[in-house]
Amino acid sequence: MGKSQSSKYKRVRRVANVKDRHSARRGRIQNNQRKLPPKIAAMFDELLSRSLRVAKENQELQRATAEANAKFRQEQAKLMGSLARQLGLSGVVRDLAALRKRQVALVRDAMEKTQTAIVRERRVSGNLRKSNR
Protein backbone atom coordinates (compact mmCIF):
# COMPACT_ATOMS: atom_id res chain seq x y z
CA MET A 1 0.00 0.00 0.00
CA GLY A 2 1.31 3.46 -0.86
CA LYS A 3 2.12 6.11 1.72
CA SER A 4 -0.82 8.34 0.79
CA GLN A 5 -3.29 5.51 1.29
CA SER A 6 -1.80 4.58 4.70
CA SER A 7 -2.23 8.12 5.95
CA LYS A 8 -5.80 8.18 4.67
CA TYR A 9 -6.70 5.19 6.82
CA LYS A 10 -5.54 7.08 9.91
CA ARG A 11 -8.34 9.58 9.36
CA VAL A 12 -11.11 7.04 9.54
CA ARG A 13 -13.44 6.40 12.42
CA ARG A 14 -13.62 2.80 13.52
CA VAL A 15 -16.67 1.04 14.90
CA ALA A 16 -15.91 -2.63 15.33
CA ASN A 17 -17.44 -5.69 16.96
CA VAL A 18 -20.88 -4.21 17.18
CA LYS A 19 -23.40 -6.97 17.75
CA ASP A 20 -26.70 -6.75 15.94
CA ARG A 21 -29.53 -9.06 14.99
CA HIS A 22 -27.98 -9.88 11.61
CA SER A 23 -24.69 -11.42 12.55
CA ALA A 24 -22.54 -12.66 15.36
CA ARG A 25 -19.75 -10.22 14.67
CA ARG A 26 -19.33 -7.24 12.39
CA GLY A 27 -17.10 -4.28 11.80
CA ARG A 28 -17.26 -0.99 9.93
CA ILE A 29 -14.75 1.58 8.89
CA GLN A 30 -15.46 4.72 6.94
CA ASN A 31 -13.65 7.55 5.26
CA ASN A 32 -14.75 10.75 6.96
CA GLN A 33 -13.02 12.87 4.35
CA ARG A 34 -15.09 11.51 1.51
CA LYS A 35 -18.58 10.58 2.57
CA LEU A 36 -21.03 9.05 0.13
CA PRO A 37 -23.70 11.40 -1.28
CA PRO A 38 -26.86 10.82 0.86
CA LYS A 39 -28.90 9.33 -2.00
CA ILE A 40 -26.24 6.72 -2.83
CA ALA A 41 -25.53 6.09 0.87
CA ALA A 42 -29.22 5.29 1.53
CA MET A 43 -29.31 2.90 -1.42
CA PHE A 44 -26.08 1.14 -0.35
CA ASP A 45 -27.49 0.74 3.18
CA GLU A 46 -30.60 -0.88 1.72
CA LEU A 47 -28.45 -3.20 -0.44
CA LEU A 48 -26.37 -4.14 2.56
CA SER A 49 -29.38 -5.02 4.69
CA ARG A 50 -30.71 -7.15 1.83
CA SER A 51 -27.38 -9.02 1.51
CA LEU A 52 -27.28 -9.57 5.27
CA ARG A 53 -30.85 -10.84 5.30
CA VAL A 54 -30.08 -13.37 2.53
CA ALA A 55 -26.85 -14.49 4.23
CA LYS A 56 -28.68 -14.88 7.54
CA GLU A 57 -31.45 -16.94 5.90
CA ASN A 58 -28.90 -19.19 4.16
CA GLN A 59 -27.06 -19.68 7.41
CA GLU A 60 -30.29 -20.58 9.23
CA LEU A 61 -31.15 -23.10 6.52
CA GLN A 62 -27.73 -24.75 6.78
CA ARG A 63 -27.94 -24.82 10.56
CA ALA A 64 -31.35 -26.53 10.45
CA THR A 65 -30.03 -29.11 7.95
CA ALA A 66 -27.01 -29.80 10.16
CA GLU A 67 -29.28 -30.27 13.18
CA ALA A 68 -31.50 -32.74 11.28
CA ASN A 69 -28.42 -34.67 10.10
CA ALA A 70 -27.06 -34.85 13.65
CA LYS A 71 -30.39 -36.26 14.91
CA PHE A 72 -30.39 -38.83 12.13
CA ARG A 73 -26.86 -39.91 13.06
CA GLN A 74 -27.86 -40.31 16.70
CA GLU A 75 -30.72 -42.62 15.70
CA GLN A 76 -28.36 -44.52 13.39
CA ALA A 77 -25.86 -45.03 16.22
CA LYS A 78 -28.61 -46.34 18.54
CA LEU A 79 -29.73 -48.80 15.88
CA MET A 80 -26.13 -49.90 15.31
CA GLY A 81 -25.67 -50.58 19.03
CA SER A 82 -28.88 -52.57 19.23
CA LEU A 83 -28.00 -54.62 16.14
CA ALA A 84 -24.50 -55.35 17.42
CA ARG A 85 -25.94 -56.55 20.74
CA GLN A 86 -28.41 -58.88 18.99
CA LEU A 87 -25.63 -60.33 16.84
CA GLY A 88 -23.34 -60.72 19.83
CA LEU A 89 -20.83 -58.39 18.19
CA SER A 90 -20.73 -55.69 20.88
CA GLY A 91 -17.08 -56.42 21.67
CA VAL A 92 -15.97 -56.34 18.02
CA VAL A 93 -17.85 -53.09 17.33
CA ARG A 94 -16.37 -51.53 20.49
CA ASP A 95 -12.86 -52.54 19.41
CA LEU A 96 -13.41 -51.19 15.89
CA ALA A 97 -14.73 -47.92 17.30
CA ALA A 98 -11.69 -47.59 19.59
CA LEU A 99 -9.38 -48.29 16.63
CA ARG A 100 -11.15 -45.67 14.52
CA LYS A 101 -10.92 -43.16 17.39
CA ARG A 102 -7.18 -43.78 17.66
CA GLN A 103 -6.73 -43.37 13.89
CA VAL A 104 -8.66 -40.07 13.94
CA ALA A 105 -6.63 -38.78 16.88
CA LEU A 106 -3.36 -39.56 15.07
CA VAL A 107 -4.42 -37.95 11.77
CA ARG A 108 -5.88 -34.95 13.52
CA ASP A 109 -2.76 -34.45 15.56
CA ALA A 110 -0.60 -34.67 12.42
CA MET A 111 -2.82 -32.11 10.64
CA GLU A 112 -2.73 -29.69 13.55
CA LYS A 113 1.06 -29.95 13.88
CA THR A 114 1.63 -29.45 10.14
CA GLN A 115 -0.66 -26.43 9.97
CA THR A 116 0.79 -24.83 13.08
CA ALA A 117 4.28 -25.30 11.66
CA ILE A 118 3.29 -23.75 8.31
CA VAL A 119 1.66 -20.75 9.98
CA ARG A 120 4.69 -20.25 12.25
CA GLU A 121 7.07 -20.52 9.29
CA ARG A 122 5.08 -17.96 7.26
CA ARG A 123 4.84 -15.64 10.25
CA VAL A 124 8.63 -15.75 10.59
CA SER A 125 9.20 -15.20 6.87
CA GLY A 126 6.58 -12.39 6.92
CA ASN A 127 8.43 -10.67 9.77
CA LEU A 128 11.72 -11.13 7.94
CA ARG A 129 10.29 -9.50 4.83
CA LYS A 130 9.01 -6.59 6.95
CA SER A 131 12.40 -6.08 8.62
CA ASN A 132 14.15 -6.13 5.24
CA ARG A 133 12.06 -3.22 3.93
Binding site: K8, A41, L47, Q59, A66, R122, G126
Partner: protein, 194 residues
Protein backbone atom coordinates in the same frame (compact mmCIF):
# COMPACT_ATOMS: atom_id res chain seq x y z
CA UNK B 1 -8.04 8.06 -22.94
CA UNK B 2 -10.19 9.59 -20.19
CA UNK B 3 -9.90 8.12 -16.71
CA UNK B 4 -10.90 8.98 -13.15
CA UNK B 5 -10.27 7.40 -9.77
CA UNK B 6 -13.27 6.24 -7.76
CA UNK B 7 -13.14 7.21 -4.08
CA UNK B 8 -13.36 4.76 -1.23
CA UNK B 9 -16.15 5.68 1.20
CA UNK B 10 -16.60 2.81 3.64
CA UNK B 11 -16.02 -0.87 4.30
CA UNK B 12 -18.18 -3.27 6.29
CA UNK B 13 -17.48 -6.84 7.25
CA UNK B 14 -19.65 -9.52 8.81
CA UNK B 15 -19.39 -13.15 9.72
CA UNK B 16 -22.12 -15.75 9.94
CA UNK B 17 -22.20 -19.23 11.42
CA UNK B 18 -19.03 -21.00 12.49
CA UNK B 19 -16.12 -19.10 11.03
CA UNK B 20 -13.41 -18.57 13.66
CA UNK B 21 -12.33 -15.65 11.50
CA UNK B 22 -10.82 -12.36 12.47
CA UNK B 23 -10.24 -9.48 10.08
CA UNK B 24 -7.80 -6.63 10.55
CA UNK B 25 -8.73 -3.79 8.24
CA UNK B 26 -5.49 -1.85 8.66
CA UNK B 27 -3.39 -4.74 7.36
CA UNK B 28 -6.09 -6.47 5.34
CA UNK B 29 -5.29 -9.71 7.10
CA UNK B 30 -7.97 -12.37 7.35
CA UNK B 31 -7.14 -15.21 9.67
CA UNK B 32 -8.93 -17.94 11.47
CA UNK B 33 -9.47 -21.62 11.86
CA UNK B 34 -12.47 -23.86 12.27
CA UNK B 35 -12.42 -27.44 13.42
CA UNK B 36 -15.28 -29.81 13.88
CA UNK B 37 -15.69 -33.52 14.29
CA UNK B 38 -18.61 -35.65 13.17
CA UNK B 39 -20.87 -32.70 12.50
CA UNK B 40 -21.87 -30.40 9.67
CA UNK B 41 -20.64 -26.86 9.87
CA UNK B 42 -20.91 -23.80 7.71
CA UNK B 43 -19.85 -20.22 7.94
CA UNK B 44 -19.29 -17.21 5.76
CA UNK B 45 -17.35 -13.98 5.92
CA UNK B 46 -18.75 -11.03 3.98
CA UNK B 47 -16.78 -7.91 3.13
CA UNK B 48 -18.50 -5.00 1.38
CA UNK B 49 -16.79 -1.83 0.24
CA UNK B 50 -18.47 1.31 -1.10
CA UNK B 51 -16.87 3.64 -3.62
CA UNK B 52 -18.20 6.67 -5.47
CA UNK B 53 -17.38 9.47 -7.83
CA UNK B 54 -19.34 12.76 -7.78
CA UNK B 55 -20.60 13.89 -11.21
CA UNK B 56 -18.53 17.07 -10.82
CA UNK B 57 -15.36 14.96 -10.89
CA UNK B 58 -16.19 12.93 -14.00
CA UNK B 59 -13.54 13.01 -16.72
CA UNK B 60 -14.18 15.47 -19.56
CA UNK B 61 -14.41 12.99 -22.43
CA UNK B 62 -15.64 9.44 -22.85
CA UNK B 63 -19.01 7.73 -22.98
CA UNK B 64 -18.50 4.04 -22.16
CA UNK B 65 -16.18 3.25 -19.27
CA UNK B 66 -14.53 0.10 -17.94
CA UNK B 67 -14.22 -0.67 -14.22
CA UNK B 68 -11.66 -3.22 -13.06
CA UNK B 69 -11.35 -3.22 -9.25
CA UNK B 70 -8.14 -4.69 -7.90
CA UNK B 71 -8.60 -6.56 -4.65
CA UNK B 72 -5.00 -7.80 -4.68
CA UNK B 73 -5.78 -10.89 -2.68
CA UNK B 74 -2.94 -13.13 -1.63
CA UNK B 75 -2.61 -16.22 0.48
CA UNK B 76 -4.62 -19.38 0.60
CA UNK B 77 -7.37 -21.40 2.22
CA UNK B 78 -7.10 -24.92 3.51
CA UNK B 79 -9.75 -27.60 3.95
CA UNK B 80 -9.47 -31.14 5.24
CA UNK B 81 -11.59 -34.11 6.20
CA UNK B 82 -11.35 -37.03 8.58
CA UNK B 83 -13.98 -39.70 7.91
CA UNK B 84 -17.70 -39.71 7.20
CA UNK B 85 -20.77 -41.18 8.89
CA UNK B 86 -20.47 -44.87 9.74
CA UNK B 87 -22.99 -47.67 10.11
CA UNK B 88 -21.18 -50.60 11.75
CA UNK B 89 -17.96 -50.53 9.70
CA UNK B 90 -19.57 -49.14 6.56
CA UNK B 91 -19.35 -45.49 5.60
CA UNK B 92 -22.81 -44.21 4.71
CA UNK B 93 -21.83 -40.62 3.89
CA UNK B 94 -18.44 -39.53 2.59
CA UNK B 95 -17.08 -36.33 4.14
CA UNK B 96 -16.85 -33.17 2.03
CA UNK B 97 -15.30 -29.80 2.71
CA UNK B 98 -14.97 -26.68 0.60
CA UNK B 99 -14.15 -23.00 0.62
CA UNK B 100 -15.72 -20.82 -2.07
CA UNK B 101 -15.15 -17.18 -2.91
CA UNK B 102 -17.95 -15.04 -4.36
CA UNK B 103 -16.97 -11.61 -5.70
CA UNK B 104 -19.58 -9.12 -6.91
CA UNK B 105 -19.28 -5.67 -8.45
CA UNK B 106 -22.37 -3.45 -8.80
CA UNK B 107 -22.33 -0.06 -10.50
CA UNK B 108 -25.00 2.59 -9.93
CA UNK B 109 -25.90 5.89 -11.57
CA UNK B 110 -27.60 7.66 -8.69
CA UNK B 111 -29.82 4.93 -7.28
CA UNK B 112 -30.22 2.96 -10.55
CA UNK B 113 -28.23 -0.22 -11.09
CA UNK B 114 -26.53 0.06 -14.49
CA UNK B 115 -24.06 -2.87 -14.41
CA UNK B 116 -23.51 -5.93 -12.23
CA UNK B 117 -21.37 -9.07 -12.29
CA UNK B 118 -20.37 -11.93 -9.98
CA UNK B 119 -17.47 -14.38 -10.06
CA UNK B 120 -17.86 -17.57 -8.02
CA UNK B 121 -14.72 -19.65 -7.53
CA UNK B 122 -13.99 -22.75 -5.51
CA UNK B 123 -10.72 -22.08 -3.70
CA UNK B 124 -10.25 -25.46 -2.04
CA UNK B 125 -12.42 -28.55 -2.07
CA UNK B 126 -12.06 -32.15 -0.91
CA UNK B 127 -14.28 -35.21 -0.88
CA UNK B 128 -13.51 -38.53 0.79
CA UNK B 129 -11.75 -39.76 3.93
CA UNK B 130 -8.53 -38.16 5.22
CA UNK B 131 -8.14 -35.66 2.39
CA UNK B 132 -6.67 -32.18 2.49
CA UNK B 133 -6.32 -29.42 -0.05
CA UNK B 134 -4.86 -25.93 -0.13
CA UNK B 135 -6.06 -23.42 -2.69
CA UNK B 136 -4.53 -20.07 -3.61
CA UNK B 137 -6.77 -17.02 -3.58
CA UNK B 138 -7.23 -15.31 -6.96
CA UNK B 139 -5.34 -11.99 -7.12
CA UNK B 140 -8.22 -10.23 -8.89
CA UNK B 141 -11.50 -11.90 -7.98
CA UNK B 142 -13.89 -9.20 -9.24
CA UNK B 143 -15.40 -9.19 -12.72
CA UNK B 144 -14.55 -6.34 -15.09
CA UNK B 145 -17.64 -4.31 -16.03
CA UNK B 146 -18.33 -1.88 -18.87
CA UNK B 147 -20.97 0.83 -18.43
CA UNK B 148 -22.26 4.04 -19.97
CA UNK B 149 -21.53 7.05 -17.80
CA UNK B 150 -24.65 9.04 -16.88
CA UNK B 151 -23.26 12.55 -16.49
CA UNK B 152 -26.36 13.78 -14.65
CA UNK B 153 -25.93 11.44 -11.67
CA UNK B 154 -23.20 10.63 -9.14
CA UNK B 155 -21.53 7.26 -9.70
CA UNK B 156 -21.65 4.61 -6.96
CA UNK B 157 -19.82 1.27 -6.96
CA UNK B 158 -20.25 -1.47 -4.41
CA UNK B 159 -17.94 -4.47 -4.09
CA UNK B 160 -18.86 -7.60 -2.16
CA UNK B 161 -16.43 -10.35 -1.28
CA UNK B 162 -17.82 -13.44 0.39
CA UNK B 163 -15.86 -16.44 1.68
CA UNK B 164 -18.26 -19.36 2.04
CA UNK B 165 -17.03 -22.31 4.00
CA UNK B 166 -18.82 -25.60 4.50
CA UNK B 167 -18.11 -29.01 5.91
CA UNK B 168 -20.30 -32.09 6.02
CA UNK B 169 -19.72 -35.32 7.92
CA UNK B 170 -16.23 -34.46 9.03
CA UNK B 171 -13.58 -32.09 10.25
CA UNK B 172 -12.24 -28.98 8.66
CA UNK B 173 -9.58 -26.42 9.17
CA UNK B 174 -9.48 -23.06 7.48
CA UNK B 175 -6.97 -20.40 8.26
CA UNK B 176 -5.21 -17.35 7.04
CA UNK B 177 -2.39 -15.13 8.20
CA UNK B 178 -1.09 -11.72 7.09
CA UNK B 179 1.45 -13.52 4.93
CA UNK B 180 -1.17 -16.03 3.88
CA UNK B 181 -4.38 -14.18 3.34
CA UNK B 182 -4.56 -10.44 2.76
CA UNK B 183 -7.55 -8.47 1.59
CA UNK B 184 -7.16 -4.83 0.73
CA UNK B 185 -9.45 -2.99 -1.62
CA UNK B 186 -7.54 -0.03 -3.01
CA UNK B 187 -9.15 2.68 -5.12
CA UNK B 188 -8.96 2.18 -8.86
CA UNK B 189 -9.55 4.08 -12.11
CA UNK B 190 -12.55 3.82 -14.38
CA UNK B 191 -11.17 4.12 -17.91
CA UNK B 192 -13.04 5.19 -21.04
CA UNK B 193 -13.20 2.62 -23.81
CA UNK B 194 -15.53 4.51 -26.18
Amino acid sequence: MAAATVWWASTNWFEFGTTGISYDFSTGALSGRVTGDGMDQSGSFLLTASFFLPAANFPQGGCTFRSTPGANLSGNAFVSTLYGSLFLVFETDAPRAQCQLRATQEIFAGSSLIASGTNLQTIASVSGDFQSNTGTLPVQPFPTLDFDLDRTQDLGIQLQLSFENSIVHSYQTWWGFPALCRILLPQWDIVSIA
